[in-house]
């Protein structure tokens, strides 16, 4: 599936809930399905700066596609990174670089997070895109 299609799918899933408690419950569920980073990659270098809880992300090229794995010590943060990885993992680096991230606003995620967590979300998106840029230059 294309990034855009996956994003639409996520937006639709979130629109099915009437209140924010249910959305949080769903995010916690999604966190449990996060493709976990291997222990050896849980290093200081792989920690995303700007997050209040710890978030580790690892990226690996398989063929011409970038695969992300991650983990966090906080469950809701795990849910957030799981949503992002679902949208961006297993995609071509160039597509990740060019991807629009409006779907975050459509879910309404940002305004329901504390300011520090919303900043963390921006840092996570930036980090995923930076990985894509790095691997794109490798592909060129």
């Amino acid at each position: 599936m294309k990034i855009e299609e996956i994003q639409d799918e996520i937006v639709e899933e979130f629109s099915m809930f009437d209140d924010w408690m249910q959305r949080y419950e769903y995010m916690i569920e999604l966190g449990k399905s996060l493709p976990l980073i291997e222990e050896q990659y849980k290093t200081e270098d792989n920690i995303i700066k700007g997050c209040q809880s710890k978030v580790w992300v690892h990226a690996e090229l398989k063929g011409d596609k970038l695969i992300f794995t991650a983990d966090s010590d906080a469950i809701i943060t795990k849910g957030i990174i799981a949503i992002l990885i679902r949208a961006f993992s297993n995609q071509k680096p160039m597509d990740i670089i060019e991807a629009n991230t409006d779907f975050i606003d459509k879910i309404g995620l940002k305004e329901h997070l504390s300011p520090t967590r919303a900043n963390g979300l921006v840092s996570m998106i930036k980090q995923l895109k930076l990985y894509a840029v790095a691997y794109q230059t490798q592909l060129n």
Binding site: W20, Y24, Q52, D73, A74, I75, T77, L113
Partner: protein, 305 residues
């Protein structure tokens, strides 16, 4: 204060700070030590979140010039035995600065009885506005300290050759002061006094006991700061759950707590935790609100485990 002490401390002088200080009562002193070559030493605490007075006594010596300590810890709620801390410091000739930011809203303070050299209060912690506070200092000390900022209003006479400084307290008040803030702070203090600190302390003690008992009934919940002498602050974690997660759910339920290191990272390091959830009560909170908090924590625990 730390700026003022720059001209008083010299290399090798010692400055003691407690292990449970807010960053704002650590960083300025570290900077002072960098400027002067003085040495910063830490008064340790135990697992209840209480300062070890015996260790403190051992740290005191003729080299100790200043002891800084909070009256009440914002991260743990501990009320420190500042009477002993002050008198022991005076025995070796050291001055004492007490950070009363968290004590002022809960405890009646008598700076003369305490015989404290310096005592500070932040207005915003005691129903007042932000950006203004109070520094009490003994006259002999304030006379000894040089002005820490130059500007208008703090002078006696200015010529291009020499400037002489105004009398106390004006020599410390350079520039146009925060007049509105000062008036609002005064109104806040009048209000607090009209409620009465005896009434506040009695009511809050009851509220703290009630909340502590109810929260401890939740399995896996651990309270950090278990001294018998506490203000109504409960810092806690639930086993296996990150404090931010609990805070997020409580926030969604309309319950205001603070999560994180509470600007006291050394305290978190001591307990080897990333942070805590902190419920902080005041005289305007009710038992019903404690009940709502406890139900919220239970709901968060159920969602997150």
């Amino acid at each position: 204060m730390a700026n003022g002490f720059t001209s008083i401390l010299t290399k090798g002088d010692e400055l003691l700070v407690s292990a449970m200080e807010h960053h704002s009562n650590i960083v300025p002193w570290q900077m002072l030590c960098e400027r002067t070559g003085a040495i910063l030493k830490v008064i340790p605490m135990n697992h209840e979140g209480e300062l070890l007075i015996e260790e403190y006594t051992k740290l005191l010596s003729g080299n100790t010039k200043l002891v800084v300590c909070n009256h009440v810890s914002n991260a743990l709620g501990t009320i420190n035995p500042i009477e002993s801390i002050i008198s022991l410091a005076h025995e070796v000739g050291a001055a004492v600065l007490i950070d009363g930011a968290q004590a002022a809203p809960h405890i009646k303070i008598d700076v003369q009885k305490l015989n404290v050299d310096f005592y500070t209060v932040s207005a915003h912690k005691i129903c007042g506005p932000t950006g203004v506070g109070m520094l009490f200092g003994k006259e002999e000390w304030l006379t000894k300290l040089p002005p820490y900022q130059g500007g208008g209003e703090m002078i006696a006479e200015v010529t291009f050759e020499k400037t002489t400084y105004a009398e106390l307290p004006h020599k410390f008040e350079a520039g146009t002061p925060n007049i509105c803030g000062g008036i609002a702070f005064g109104a806040a203090l009048d209000y607090m006094n009209s409620v009465g600190f005896e009434a506040i302390a009695g009511y809050e003690k009851e509220l703290l006991e009630y909340a502590t008992k109810k929260l401890l009934a939740i399995e896996g919940l651990r309270i950090y700061g278990t001294s018998e002498h506490k203000t109504p602050v409960i810092s806690f974690n639930i086993e296996g759950i990150h404090p931010y997660d609990i805070g997020t759910i409580l926030d969604k339920l309309g319950i205001a707590v603070r999560t994180g290191h509470h600007c006291a990272q050394p305290v978190m390091d001591y307990f080897k935790i990333p942070g805590t959830v902190r419920a902080s009560f005041s005289f305007y909170n009710t038992r019903e609100e404690v009940d709502i908090l406890v139900e919220g924590v239970k709901k968060a625990k159920q969602m997150l485990s």
